[in-house]
């Protein structure tokens, strides 16, 4: 797996994949729009999902790997399977479309990931809310494998404007108890009759709405939105280099 990621994708494309098919790619683009753009962007440039224009795929690089990923999804990630929604021929067309948009110019990240790691844990205090490989707080999303899961632009936006795209399940829950005291935390559950949340210290709370003054769900992230001021541009680059390097078990090796 590690080797695969280091080999230029184009070298594999020549041996393992079908030749480019412009007509199939055009058809795939039509199917790509409704199903893939919500996470991978209108032009496949990525977002909440990986940037597909880089021509580097963590799931494997053959057409069969991409087909399998689209059909079955990636367990443990937000990538669902589409086998129930798309016919095999449409999935093959989407694979052709993905091939057609790959640039294969894997630009390096300008920052220094070693410096970025130190900034993450020390100056940024990011570990108070984010887990990386078992270390850190539980309030925010785990970042152990965040590198291949998000586009670079998405990671940058997430650092500078945390409320720009709220992940489902990470809304801010505010509860005002009968005695007027206020409790704020990240969503662990929310429905018409109850609310569950975790505070920054990792404490878990559950309330029936009928037992409190109010329980509301907001779309403003609990993550501070001051990192653009706290960090210099060079430090942001370092932090991004670190985040991009987070690839789960591979990082630990």
């Amino acid at each position: 797996m590690v080797i695969l990621l280091l080999v230029p994708a184009a070298a594999w494309a020549q041996t393992a994949n079908n030749p480019p098919d412009a007509e199939a790619a055009a058809g795939g683009g039509a199917a790509f729009r409704p199903y893939c753009t919500p996470c991978h962007g209108v032009r496949g440039e990525g977002g909440r999902g990986p940037d597909l224009t880089r021509g580097v795929y963590s799931v494997g690089d053959t057409d069969a790997d991409l087909f399998r990923t689209i059909a079955n999804g990636v367990p443990g990630t937000e990538m669902p399977g589409f086998a129930a929604d798309l016919r095999d021929e449409d999935i093959r067309r989407i694979v052709a479309f993905i091939r057609s948009i790959a640039r294969h110019d894997v630009a390096g990240i300008p920052g220094d990931k070693v410096k970025g790691e130190k900034l993450f844990w020390d100056k940024g205090g990011c570990g108070a809310c984010h887990v990386v490989s078992g270390r850190g707080g539980r309030m925010g999303p785990e970042l152990t494998r965040i590198g291949p899961q998000r586009s670079l632009q998405y990671l940058l936006d997430a650092v500078l404007e945390p409320s720009k795209d709220m992940l489902p399940g990470f809304a801010t829950i505010t509860v005002i108890r009968r005695d007027g005291t206020k409790l704020v935390g990240v969503e662990r559950g929310f429905d018409n009759f109850s609310a569950q949340l975790m505070d920054v210290a990792g404490n878990y709370y559950s309330f029936l709405k009928s037992d409190v003054q109010s329980a509301t769900r907001g779309t403003r992230s609990l993550m501070p939105d001051q990192y653009g001021r706290l960090f210099t541009p060079a430090e942001i680059d370092d932090l991004l280099a670190y985040l991009v390097s987070l690839r789960g078990a591979e990082t630990a090796r």
């Binding site: 409704p34 709220m166 009759f193």
Partner: protein, 530 residues
């Protein structure tokens, strides 16, 4: 009131009669102890006068028994109750007779669906119909089966249409006189929809009404070329019946292909319409088309509910529907004349209605290659789930999805038996759909109250003489609302999303409530005390 007097008589007489007569179906509203047909009565009211459980006592409502079907998939069944038994259908051709007192399974019917089904939306089933000692249900591979109510034994089974071409069946049949009426699904596969009537005794087909007019027939001119042959117009939700007018009312689904209207220029009759059909002959009496030339998948299959409305001092025999296109409609059920339409959710595709009820369409709202944002979304508005009309409040209750979606289209070549929608829809980024339960005054179309939900509503409605509306949400809560205000008075976390309507009936004179949630059937009764 006439119905109340009849109620008292029938209540004392209806102890565990294990057959259902045509007369009982006509008088179903007066028999509060049972639930004999999909919509409670022929008018589709889903209203029961039972009032033991009311706005005060509902706080003591608690589960009585739970039956776990262990069948996956959405449970959308309306159970039938008579003769000491509850009859429920599950997805994937399962059905059960349950002892009404204990929930114990008395018999289980199952038939393996064939491999290679062309399914639009899973394998749900919405319930039985009953006549005499027989039960009738559809199987997903587009067959109609008659079962012996006492044993579950198969008496006959008829192929309604060819599942290999994309036809499926999911709706509860409707008994009218000695006939079993069924609808069909499959508009996403380039099929041509219809409503069928079968002889209840023999299973022989008595008539078929095609919901897509052929070339040369009246309405055929509303289809370009031979596009009518793939015209869709599914009929997957049960209709209603007016015995006095001898008319059947049935909603029809979207034209095919759903998103590419260019290949089927014209109004595309009788898709996205309400059709009134002679019960004996299957001939069309009148039609009313809600969404001419639909390109947003706005099926008009929702319950056509028959209500006599007081409009401007006149009593009008009306049929009302919460349509998927975002408007609530009332139409004169004697002649199909438009009475009123009123938006109940955000609408961007039309600015209102002409005097004849034809929508004033906003240009540029068709699906496109790059996506067109339109409100409501593909599922509506109000989709298919059962609606209710309360005789006490004179309000009409239904669920809705609120919000918008992005509609795409593409060019697609038709191949028999293959998906033929010519693209699809997707969510608007950062604008998730929400939902609500809505109470509308059917005589004016005005919304009286809304009970907001976090996500789109899929469960059905039950209105009761106790001043309550029972419904549920996708988060698993089964909820009793105050029918006058929409205020939630009671809830129970069922552990499974609700996509079915509740029913009510009595056991030993005590009011019961039953509903499917997740894969289970749950019944409720007041806990004694206080």
């Amino acid at each position: 009131m006439k119905t109340m007097a009849a109620l008292l008589i029938v209540l004392s007489a209806a102890i565990a009669a294990s057959t259902v007569t045509e007369q009982q179906l006509r008088d179903a509203q007066a028999d509060a102890a049972t639930w004999l047909t999909y919509g409670k009565n022929y008018q589709g009211w889903r209203y029961s006068p039972l009032a033991e459980i009311d706005t005060n006592t509902v706080s003591r409502l608690a589960p009585r028994w739970i039956y776990q079907t262990s069948v996956g998939g959405n449970h959308e069944t309306t159970p039938l109750v008579f003769g000491g038994m509850m009859y429920v259908t599950s997805p994937s051709n399962h059905a059960y007779a349950l002892d009404l007192l204990t929930g114990k399974q008395i018999w289980h019917y199952h038939k393996d669906p064939p491999a290679g089904l062309n399914l639009c939306c899973g394998q749900p089933n919405r319930g039985f119909a009953a006549l005499g000692d027989k039960l009738f249900k559809v199987n997903v591979e587009a067959t109609l089966v008659a079962l012996d109510a006492r044993s579950g034994a198969v008496l006959w089974e008829r192929q309604i249409a060819d599942y290999k071409k994309g036809f499926t069946a999911t709706g509860a049949p409707l008994i009218v006189k000695n006939k079993v009426l069924v609808g069909i699904a499959g508009a996403e596969f380039g099929t041509r929809g219809f409503i069928d009537a079968y002889d209840a005794e023999t299973g022989e087909r008595a008539w078929r009404f095609y919901t897509v007019a052929a070339q040369g027939e009246p309405g055929g001119e509303t289809w370009a070329g031979d596009s009518w042959q793939r015209g869709g117009g599914s009929t997957w939700i049960t209709g209603t019946y007016d015995p006095d007018l001898n008319l059947i009312y049935w909603g029809t689904g979207n034209p095919g292909p759903g998103m590419d209207g260019d290949v089927r220029a014209g109004d595309n009759l009788y898709t996205c319409s309400l059709v009134a059909i002679n019960a004996d002959t299957g001939k069309l009496k009148w039609h009313f088309q809600f969404t001419p030339h639909d390109t947003h998948d706005w099926d008009a299959v929702a319950d056509p509910v028959l209500i006599d409305l007081a409009i401007k001092g006149q009593t009008v025999k009306a049929v009302v529907q919460a349509n998927r296109n975002g408007y609530f409609y009332a139409v004169d059920r004697t002649n199909g004349k438009f009475l009123l339409a009123s938006p109940y959710t955000k609408i961007t595709w039309a600015t209102g209605m002409g005097a004849d009820g034809r929508p004033l369409v906003v240009p540029g709202m068709e699906p496109s290659e790059t996506g067109t944002k339109v409100c409501p979304g593909l599922g509506g508005g109000h989709n298919w789930s059962a609606t209710a009309y309360s005789l006490d409040t004179k309000l009409f209750y239904f669920g809705t999805a609120d919000g918008c979606e992005i509609f795409f289209r593409t060019k697609q070549v038709f191949r028999e038996g293959q998906w033929y929608q010519a693209s699809t829809e997707s969510a608007v980024p950062n604008e998730p759909l929400t939902g609500a339960v809505i109470a509308v005054d059917p005589a004016t179309g005005a919304t009286r109250w809304r009970y907001d939900l976090l996500t789109e509503h899929a469960a059905g409605m039950l209105a009761t003489g106790g001043g309550l509306v029972f419904t549920g949400d996708a988060q698993g809560y089964f909820t009793a609302l105050d029918a006058r205000t929409g205020k939630p008075l009671w809830n129970f976390q069922t552990g499974g999303g609700l996509g079915a309507p509740a029913i009510t009936y009595t056991v030993h004179g005590r009011q019961q409530i039953a509903v499917a949630a997740g894969s289970s059937i749950i019944t409720f009764q007041l806990v004694d005390g206080k």
